[in-house]
Symmetry: C2
């Protein structure tokens, strides 16, 4: 299987959308991250949910995490106010240098290796410089497990009742 065969449609947000909208999209659809497009439809960034959380953390705290402990609870509770009126472009000012992106004809292992290396729960799949779809970690595991299970069943027919663990040890 190739990336373009297992990727899925995924909601995208424009770079000039309110950051609040992106955060809400993620929460309402329980997405593992967000895909951000430029005004002309090019891929701008693929942000894991953990980095979207960064939208509500002041940058001086991201740079020095110990500072987080001196923020009063009442102030911390109002973290989302930081999002008020801000666009995604203001919060993600630079094009990502290492974007979790795969090619349409990459194998499952190539996609998996990108996820692991970039610690990204989603990978954008590109076909002829356009976004073809997204593969989430959950989707990738589901596909590999079902492949594995089919193979295991075929194998079981061959090997009878021997424990599979013996075969793979």
């Amino acid at each position: 299987m190739r990336a373009a065969e297992i990727d899925e449609e995924f909601p995208v947000v424009g770079i000039d959308s309110p950051a609040l909208e992106a955060a809400r999209l993620l929460v309402e659809h329980s997405l593992p991250g967000i895909v951000i497009l430029t005004t002309d439809g090019q891929l701008y960034a693929v942000l894991p949910a953990s980095q979207v959380v960064g939208f509500v953390v002041p940058s001086y705290i991201q740079d020095d995490p110990l500072l987080a402990s001196v923020i009063a609870e009442s102030v911390a509770d109002r973290a989302a106010e930081k999002l008020g009126g801000k666009t995604i472009r203001e919060l993600v000012p630079q094009h990502q240098l290492t974007m979790p992106v795969a090619n349409a004809d990459d194998t499952i292992i190539e996609v998996a290796a990108i996820m692991v290396r970039l610690r990204s729960p989603l990978v954008a799949v590109m076909k002829q410089d356009k976004l073809h779809g997204v593969i989430t970690a959950s989707r990738l595991l589901a596909v590999t497990l079902s492949c594995g299970l089919i193979d295991n069943r075929q194998l079981l027919r061959t090997v009878g009742t021997r424990r599979l663990s013996e075969l793979y040890s």
Copy 2:
């Protein structure tokens, strides 16, 4: 609000469970990651989904991602076979050095800072050395947005129809 007030129950897996079981748990419940406990119930690791994907990527490929491109499609499709019979302990051999863990009385900003810094979509909340619950990125954003929205509504009553973006610029 403090971490222990917003954390939630979360499925856990034992360190000697089959790795396949952990991967299936993640897929079936669309979890952002897994929480692994030792045999005596201590926290052993908190793995984001992107790192659970690492279970199906041979370690020599994780060390040298370019190798992924030379794995044949037919072999890549059988990646899950690597899990056959393996336990989590075999695949996550060492106690995590930097575990995404918060204290029960940490503020939202402290939890958020841990998520951002460790790129983890879930943080384990500890109370008196025991796992009290888990806060996911989605949960944290939902809580901060609802706090923010309440504040914004209160603010709107005060400031009338002025754009919120003017207030936070």
